[in-house]
């Protein structure tokens, strides 16, 4: 066991830290609006220009061949510097792993560089009104036509699709096959005829979701990813990644935990008289603060424990093992800790917590409330936590199917 990083890794960290601290923009608007999204794209283009967009990819596609350990280091530094979640993530973290595993050389050469450069933005198109947890219930279809396929049906809950150029997702190509069979993975330009993208707002009011309607939209054969009728297997390459290591590096939670500790220090010292309900007795406020203290340290500990879990997993990956159903353990861990962490912050803020981002008195610009509402999505998306618990029970513990 050796937990120190190598000199090369430390040099990598120093370089990343220096660049990020100097370049991460302050006060980016939320990405859930036309204007905000554009600003985020500019930031990610800047990130790419400096070579930090997709550090773990081959240089040929815009990366710097970083190891998985270096990637983790980069993620830590990225979030510690206060940089925002990636608007390119449904491309670089979800589609890219499937492209690396199932794409053709032509597809990789054509698609990956502009994805890395934030020039072509990718949305995900999996869920449908009738296919959520039960993803295999997908009913949108693709029918053979000259040189390609015609898509019909509807996708929904497609994050950022209103602002994206293309979508990757599953369509049913063989309606006679059993549920998990007969699906094919398509890469679909969103600007063609027969496609309508209808944005809608999420919980916090940001325009971040879209439903996408397909009415004989054409997609060419070269935009089929992996074998026809084998889309489920391709998708699993993506979810293994989405639910697991690549999307949820500990960096974001470690950074949030540090900010929570900072918030705790600020709130226990600052105007506790103004922001707390009346009490005739000091003892009440004191015991109350102690409760906050435990919630804050639990959140800090949870982020650290999740980091350790991830480092053990990474060690196994480096040794050549693959990530299987263990990714469900990770997903349960990070989604629950993210929620507890933000709940602890709101509890600290007391009556200040309810302020929206437009309120002049909002602490930290309302970021804790926004973060809380974002965290609430964690146990739902990328496979609900109920599904994840089934996976842990059946695939890791060997319990019988329902």
């Amino acid at each position: 066991m050796e937990l120190a990083f190598s000199a090369a890794e430390e040099a990598f960290r120093a370089e990343a830290r220096a660049w990020l601290r100097a370049n991460v923009p302050r006060d980016l608007p939320p990405s859930g609006s036309e204007r905000g999204f554009a600003a985020h794209v500019v930031w990610e283009q800047q990130l790419h220009a400096a070579g930090w967009s997709v550090v773990a990819w081959p240089r040929a596609f815009g990366g710097r061949d970083a190891s998985i350990v270096e990637w983790l280091i980069f993620e830590e530094e990225y979030y510690l510097a206060g940089a925002p979640p990636r608007v390119t993530q449904n491309g670089i973290f979800l589609l890219a792993p499937a492209l690396f595993e199932y794409g053709t050389d032509e597809q990789r050469a054509r698609i990956l560089p502009p994805m890395a450069a934030a020039e072509v933005l990718w949305a995900q198109g999996w869920s449908e009104p009738g296919a959520g947890s039960d993803l295999a219930a997908i009913s949108s279809t693709a029918t053979r036509t000259d040189g390609g396929w015609l898509l019909r049906g509807q996708k929904t809950w497609s994050t950022r699709a209103s602002y994206c150029h293309a979508m990757h997702g599953l369509f049913r190509t063989d309606p006679s096959a059993p549920r998990h069979k007969g699906l094919t993975y398509f890469l679909v330009p969103l600007d063609g005829p027969g496609i309508r993208v209808n944005g809608f707002r999420r919980l916090d009011g940001d325009l971040d979701f879209a439903e996408i309607f397909f009415d004989d939209a054409f997609v060419s054969d070269r935009d089929v990813l992996g074998p026809v009728d084998q889309g489920w297997k391709v998708a699993m390459a993506t979810t293994g990644s989405e639910r697991g290591l690549t999307l949820r590096s500990p960096g974001r939670f470690l950074a949030a935990a540090e900010r929570l500790v900072d918030l705790y220090r600020r709130t226990v010292s600052f105007d506790s008289a103004a922001a707390r309900p009346r009490s005739g007795r000091t003892g009440v406020a004191d015991a109350y603060d102690r409760g906050h203290r435990d919630a804050v340290i639990r959140a800090w500990m949870d982020a650290r424990a999740y980091q350790l879990l991830t480092l053990q997993t990474v060690t196994r990956l480096v040794a050549g093992q693959t990530l299987g159903a263990e990714s469900s353990v990770s997903k349960l861990a990070w989604s629950e800790l993210d929620l507890r962490l933000h709940q602890a912050a709101l509890d600290l803020l007391g009556p200040m917590a309810e302020l929206g981002p437009d309120a002049p008195s909002a602490v930290d610009g309302g970021a804790w409330q926004k973060g809380f509402q974002f965290a609430l999505a964690g146990p739902i998306y990328a496979g609900t936590n109920e599904i994840q618990k089934n996976v842990v029970a059946e695939r890791l513990l060997g319990l019988p199917k329902d």
């Binding site: 039960d134 809608f200 707002r201 979701f209 309900p277 009440v284 309810e354």
Partner: protein
């Protein structure tokens, strides 16, 4: 020993529920989100005509002279409807506070208008950094150094502080305490302000019960209809058990709220403990119901266009208002464990 409401109280609940069902559908709540902080209230005149707005005012001022036991179920219904109007501050806190504290001249001037719903009165107690509905109030009752001040809008500067619950019009109120605004001082004011805080905590708890029940109703309906894997999602044990636990939490919180109403109405000496029980359990039950409701809905509950979030956000903001669950537990601990009265 009879721990139940009277037929009259249940009848009033029924009537209010009917009115709100008709006049305060989700579209009305959404309209309140989009309205400016000084927009006239929509349901208020009808609630006033029914006597609800002035129900706590003495009869000589046109009120019904009723107490917290009469209010409890009415407040539960306003929570169920997510009513975007200040019954809590105006009827549950301000009217009794004025009636019990202020002199006859002041009461003459304000209570009749308040009972009739013509003048909205809101409240800002110490510890609450913002005041709800100050923008449409004719009078703001403000606590300052154990004194009670009654401040007219012309003497205040309001800064809107938008809440995540868009129906809740919060403002920061800047003002200067002067002798002309002072309406009560001394031990009497202090006791009245303590009582006002407990009334606020109780009333918020009562509304939270209604909010929690509505969240459950919406969710139960949804999981019965929504199918995945060829069966209603409500038939999965994971969904059933979450909802069962949320239901148990609400069932335990509700008698605590009723007990607090009784303690307030009867002016019991250990009122504070009963109020804190109510607010602690109701806050946790509502926040828990919100979490369960969202999780059982899945993605659709996460969309702004679906109504669920109107109640979730009300649950969150009211769980934190007038002392959150942890604060109230700490208050009970001081009374029970340290043996102080």
């Amino acid at each position: 020993m009879r721990f139940a409401f009277t037929d009259e109280q249940l009848e009033l609940q029924r009537v209010v529920r009917e009115l709100l069902g008709r006049e305060c559908p989700p579209a009305r709540v959404r309209a309140a989100w989009d309205a400016a902080p000084d927009t006239p209230l929509a349901v208020w005149p009808q609630l006033a005509a029914m006597g609800v707005v002035g129900m706590t005012a003495p009869e000589r001022f046109g009120g019904l002279g009723l107490d917290e036991l009469d209010l409890a179920l009415v407040l539960e219904e306003t929570g169920r409807a997510a009513l975007p109007e200040p019954l809590l501050e105006h009827t549950a806190i301000a009217i009794p506070l004025i009636a019990e504290t202020c002199d006859e001249v002041f009461c003459d001037r304000w209570l009749g208008a308040a009972a009739a719903g013509r003048a909205v009165i809101t409240v800002g107690l110490a510890g609450a950094p913002f005041v709800a509905d100050a923008g449409r109030a004719k009078l703001v009752l403000l606590e300052h150094d154990d004194e009670l001040h009654a401040v007219e809008p012309r003497l205040t500067t309001l800064t809107a502080e938008p809440s995540i619950d868009g129906a809740r019009k919060l403002a920061r109120v800047e003002w200067t305490p002067i002798s002309a605004t002072r309406v009560a001082t001394g031990a009497g004011a202090r006791a009245a302000l303590d009582l006002a805080f407990d009334r606020g905590a109780f009333a918020t708890a009562a509304q939270l019960i209604g909010v929690a029940r509505r969240l459950m109703d919406m969710t139960v309906e949804y999981v019965k209809l929504r199918t995945q894997f060829g069966r209603p999602v409500g038939s999965f044990q994971a969904v059933k058990h979450q909802l069962a636990l949320a239901h148990v939490a609400i069932e335990l919180a509700r008698p605590c709220v009723h007990r607090a109403a009784y303690a307030l109405a009867r002016r019991e000496p250990d009122r504070a403990v009963h109020v804190s029980m109510a607010k602690a359990y109701a806050s946790d039950a509502a926040a828990g119901a919100a979490r369960t409701a969202l999780q059982c809905h899945g993605a659709i509950g996460y969309s702004f266009e679906y109504d669920l979030h109107l109640w979730m956000k009300r649950a969150w903001v009211h769980a934190a208002a007038y002392g959150d669950a942890a604060w109230h537990r700490a208050r009970i601990a001081t009374a029970v464990l340290d043996g102080e009265p």
